[in-house]
């Protein structure tokens, strides 16, 4: 039984927008992002409200780029890292549209794109918005301690990206198109070190990529770019090595958003960027621009997520990973 979902009416990504904090703006992709804020508050008095504001800004900017108004979209798919998807729920309020809150940890953006494109492909909706966000301060409060605690981070940890990325999907559009989707399977290899997410998530990415290449009978070299969300330095090398032993050479055209968004040498981010805002912002800015300019024409985007919770960590449970894959092409199949 095949697990790939081919979209016969492939929806088009008609616009994208990204909103980031200071550290991301200071990084290598700084000027590719649409909006940034120097103190990461976005004018709000709590980090959770800041995250909602980032999502609102991302969706509104994306709508403006597509010359649409909020009333033109039919549904919003949104997610973030916080309990009860607080940022997304409050951020969606202003749009007065049907809202699906989703959670896939750092894979949420790909999950949102997958679910949204399947719904559009099946004809339930014609236009929708997909947005995800993460914020360094709210993530620290959520998963570790509030930043007021002043806790120190070990060298293998990644830094949660402060950012929101949004795209508008439409059934009428000239591309790039989401042609097929491979939903991820949760994979748990017994890693319980919360400071080494890359190693926990890499097996899920390996599982998804291998299933995809096998079912489509393709190999990594058939694509212009293979992108993961936030495997970081450790996860990146694990993925390349293990896929290499299975006969898939990913060394030439594979990159990771977590390694692209920061300068790991100069910005003191240890193992790279993470969080669902990481893949959302990088995809909605740099990658989408390259697709629209036809510098990239055939892209595999697989955001990975670590499905643990603060309680599961405290209870000593290991960390399962998941990787949802989206295939984007500049022409419909």
């Amino acid at each position: 039984m095949l697990s790939i979902i081919k979209l016969s009416h492939a929806p088009s990504i008609i616009s994208g927008a990204s909103v980031v904090g200071k550290k991301e703006y200071d990084g290598p992709l700084g000027t590719d992002f649409d909006i940034h804020d120097n103190d990461s508050t976005f004018g709000m008095d709590t980090w959770e409200k800041s995250e909602s504001e980032m999502q609102r800004l991302a969706v509104n900017t994306s709508l403006a780029k597509a010359k649409l108004s909020p009333s033109d979209i039919e549904v919003i798919f949104a997610g973030d890292l916080m309990n009860q998807c607080t940022g997304s729920a409050y951020g969606a309020l202003g749009f007065a549209k049907p809202y699906f809150g989703i959670y896939g940890a750092c894979s949420t953006f790909a999950e949102g794109l997958a679910i949204a494109s399947m719904m559009l492909g099946a004809g339930y909706y014609k236009k929708c918005a997909v947005v995800t966000s993460s914020h360094f301060c709210s993530a620290e409060r959520q998963f570790r301690f509030p930043i007021e605690y002043g806790g120190q981070r070990p060298p293998t940890s990644q830094r949660t990206v402060t950012g929101a990325g949004a795209v508008i999907l439409s059934l009428d559009g000239a591309g790039p198109f989401i042609c097929d989707v491979m939903p991820g399977i949760p994979i748990d290899m017994g890693i319980s070190d919360a400071n080494n997410m890359g190693a926990a998530m890499a097996p899920a990415a390996i599982n998804t990529f291998k299933r995809y290449f096998d079912e489509t009978n393709t190999s990594p070299s058939d694509y212009d770019l293979i992108l993961t969300g936030d495997l970081g330095m450790e996860g990146h090398s694990i993925l390349c090595e293990i896929m290499g032993t299975k006969g898939y050479d990913m060394s030439k055209n594979y990159n990771d958003c977590g390694l692209m968004i920061y300068n790991c040498k100069t910005q003191d981010v240890h193992s790279g960027g993470s969080g669902c805002g990481c893949s959302a912002t990088v995809f909605s800015s740099l990658i989408l621009k390259k697709l629209l300019r036809h510098e990239l024409n055939n892209v595999l985007f697989a955001a990975t997520g670590a499905l643990m919770s603060p309680d599961s960590i405290k209870q000593g449970m290991s960390i399962p990973g998941i990787a949802h894959l989206i295939h984007i092409k500049n022409e419909r199949i």
Binding site: G21, D39, S40, T41, P146, Q152, P154, N195
Partner: protein, 118 residues
Amino acid sequence: MKLIRAFIIGGALCVIAQIFIDKTRLTPARILVAYVTMGVILGGAGVYGYLVDFAGCGATLPLTGFGYSLSQGVKKAVDESGLIGALTGGLTATAGGIAAAISFGYIFSIIFKSKPKR
């Protein structure tokens, strides 16, 4: 002089903790708890007192010093009030420090706004 010894010993305790953070998978919370516990054990055994005499604040300021205070407080309270001292002694001895942490933490959180590191 004592100032330099305090600096060296206090710094050394921090370096040891940093090595744990960099080289092991111990979380900062576990390291801090281990430090308090070591302070209690070494204080109870009578060993930590020598470090305090040698280095003053360099030994009492780090979290091992907090464990040391707990142990000395318990010793004193058990001598004075019997077994109940095992429960009352630690908090009595560290009451000042705990109240200071709470009060100053609260005051500073009202005065200052937190933000992420640059």
